[in-house]
Symmetry: C2
Subunit: 147 residues, 2 copies
Amino acid sequence: MNGIDRAAIDACYEQALKSCNEGGLPIGSALTRGDAIIAVGHNRRVQQGNPILHGEMDCLQNAGRQTSYRDCTLYTSLSPCMMCSGTIVQFKIPRVVIGENSNFGGNEQFLRDHGVDVEVADDPRCIELMARFIAENGALWAEDIAD
Amino acid sequence: MNGIDRAAIDACYEQALKSCNEGGLPIGSALTRGDAIIAVGHNRRVQQGNPILHGEMDCLQNAGRQTSYRDCTLYTSLSPCMMCSGTIVQFKIPRVVIGENSNFGGNEQFLRDHGVDVEVADDPRCIELMARFIAENGALWAEDIAD
């Protein structure tokens, strides 16, 4: 975790909080290239009635068309689901930094098996926000992960 | 391949052709429940400058929030990439019918390993449309699969 890593995880948390304040799932994401955050995003299932817009997908959508992601890092407040993990592998994103994986996880090994460098920040703000949301919105959380 | 399968693969091809006529990548998708097509979609990378909208993702976006996909089949004119395959597994879609996998493929085993029933229609219209597009638009095709 270097300076841009910390700034990008802060951005993920801010995006998660923004989504929560909009009535949505509190999961945020950021994409960096070098020392610059080039896009942020957050889950928009509730806000746009859109099941594919997990935080990471919204962030990649907001980044628009990129020739390559080989010099990028993707950040997410919560460990990526299989949709987002498949996308990371397909887009050839070489590095992922995860805010926390205590509320959801399990695809880190899939990412590593496909050559992705995975780091977990164990950010207490991300853990607390997600845990509270799941406790208060179990049905919505189950819908978001098709549980 | 039953009656709804044939109708849904027809819809995939029509969506692919529509995208091609819009200047986009000719890949279409449909989602069925029972004997009804509940959504269609097509690749919109070019049309909306959006890298996550492969045909399957656009179709799932158009279907909106669903409580469950366990009684659904997803159809696609071209074998799904890892983003779309990850999404199929995450959304617990039990069956996928693929128009063709001669122009792109390789994730069918991943799907089967995760319990998805995969069928390949070997549709000559889908094969010909995609082959012609790749021959004429190599750079755009490479961008779409991050090659």
